[in-house]
Symmetry: C2
Subunit: 259 residues, 2 copies
């Protein structure tokens, strides 16, 4: 929120400007109640019903993980060919606290992408997109600055970026990098440091370094990495409980009947 | 160098303690003259003879690379099974300025390791070892502190390590991590941050993150990463020239005959 103030001491009248707030789309997709066979379950109810079925050990792990979770930075992969690379990027992202990930499936060779969402990605919010424009517009509507990793046209060194601001970091495909369309939609081009003879990093290495850099940048600037709101933390707890127990849907439905 | 001094102002006699210096083995293997068919070529002569055959572009690249080169941190891989992983680690190390690398070949499945030294590794000082003890003793003789990456027994977070001190960072094999023998020889156990549900990083990702961390740590503590001595820089320039031109050996030998 911004205002224009004058000090009472200088005698000018207190004045507040009109505040124009752009309504942002929420970044966490779990805030809405969960819909199961015509019934809607809010996060608090899911936690109450499924909580007793989640082991103490798992609950500890979930809490520790949520302490370091963020939606402020989100990885985007555009047109990757290799599913192994996508999985590696998702795994690094998850391990370094990034809750969401966006996959733009523009490579014709990348048909079975839905299978990518299985595995370590179980804990992430995966967003699959069929076009670059669609993905980038959705991210902009959520307030993200679009940062394209690219070595062309004098990109800014990654060390100059403030990752405490909402940032979507885009990695292009293994052969050509990010597309011209993406570059035209991006707010900035950023480069990962390359100090040696090697002219490029493997995509999974480039992504991991960027994720680590952003994590360290955030901690050094503001003292913490994880920054979920109370509502996001509750919603993710509910989602993780749902993904941690067997047959969560039937259990939730039965709990309503039992009432 | 350490001494014990009293200020002349307090009247006490000037006193200097005996200095005990442990003689360290040099870390750069290129300082000695190059031996070719009975002739010995010091770095300065190699630069003088081969310099005119190296393109201006390549010389620029070599100089830029040497600005960011260091022997102060060196990666060690112990018993890795997968040659692709070894190559990936070497590539990340090269790209982030680490001039040397040590490979301990204790895995019986890793027979053709010599081929690993080809490729992007062309620019690195590769050291192949047949036993863990042999490698670690050599590194200790060069003044390196041995840091074993490990998740066991409460390792220190990597953020607590001062990478401006000579450090050999050891990565264990894909399945079991570093060996008990290595742990018994190590000075410290260090852990890479793991903030999510994933319990481990792929070895190539773990190594890249560590290399990036050490690079950033060095820059933030002392303002620079590259720290070659003048002699090391000259020796590496000679080595890179040697590796940049065709038939460097015959050219050097002919230059002596021509004198």
């Amino acid at each position: 929120m911004r205002g224009s103030f004058s000090s009472p001491l200088d005698g000018a009248p207190f004045q507040q400007t009109r505040i124009i707030t752009r309504i942002m789309q929420p970044r966490c997709p779990h805030l809405e109640p969960l819909h199961i066979e015509g019934e809607y379950f809010p996060p608090a109810e899911i936690i109450k019903v499924l909580g007793p079925l989640v082991t103490v050990e798992r609950k500890k792990r979930i809490n520790a993980t949520l302490d370091h979770r963020t939606y402020t930075m989100t990885p985007v992969m555009e047109g990757l060919y290799d599913r192994g690379n996508v999985s590696a990027v998702l795994r690094s992202g998850e391990a370094l606290g990034y809750q969401s990930a966006h996959i733009i499936q523009t490579s014709p060779n990348f048909k079975k992408a839905k299978r990518v969402t299985q595995g370590a990605e179980k804990w992430l919010d995966m967003h699959l997109w069929e076009s670059t424009a669609e993905c980038i517009h959705a991210l902009k509507a959520q307030g993200y600055k679009i940062l394209a990793t690219s070595l062309e046209d004098r990109p800014r060194p990654m060390a100059e970026i403030d990752f405490t601001e909402p940032s979507a970091l885009v990695f292009g495909n293994e052969k050509d990098g990010v597309s011209p369309e993406l570059l035209s939609l991006a707010d900035e081009r950023v480069a990962i440091p390359m100090l040696g003879f090697s002219q490029s990093f493997n995509i999974s290495v480039a992504a991991a370094l960027s994720f680590y850099h952003a994590y360290r940048d955030r901690v050094s600037r503001q003292g913490y990495h994880g920054d979920l709101t109370t509502a996001e933390r509750e919603a993710l707890t509910a989602t993780y409980y749902f993904r941690s127990v067997g047959s969560p849907g039937p259990i939730l439905l039965r709990s309503r009947i039992a009432d």
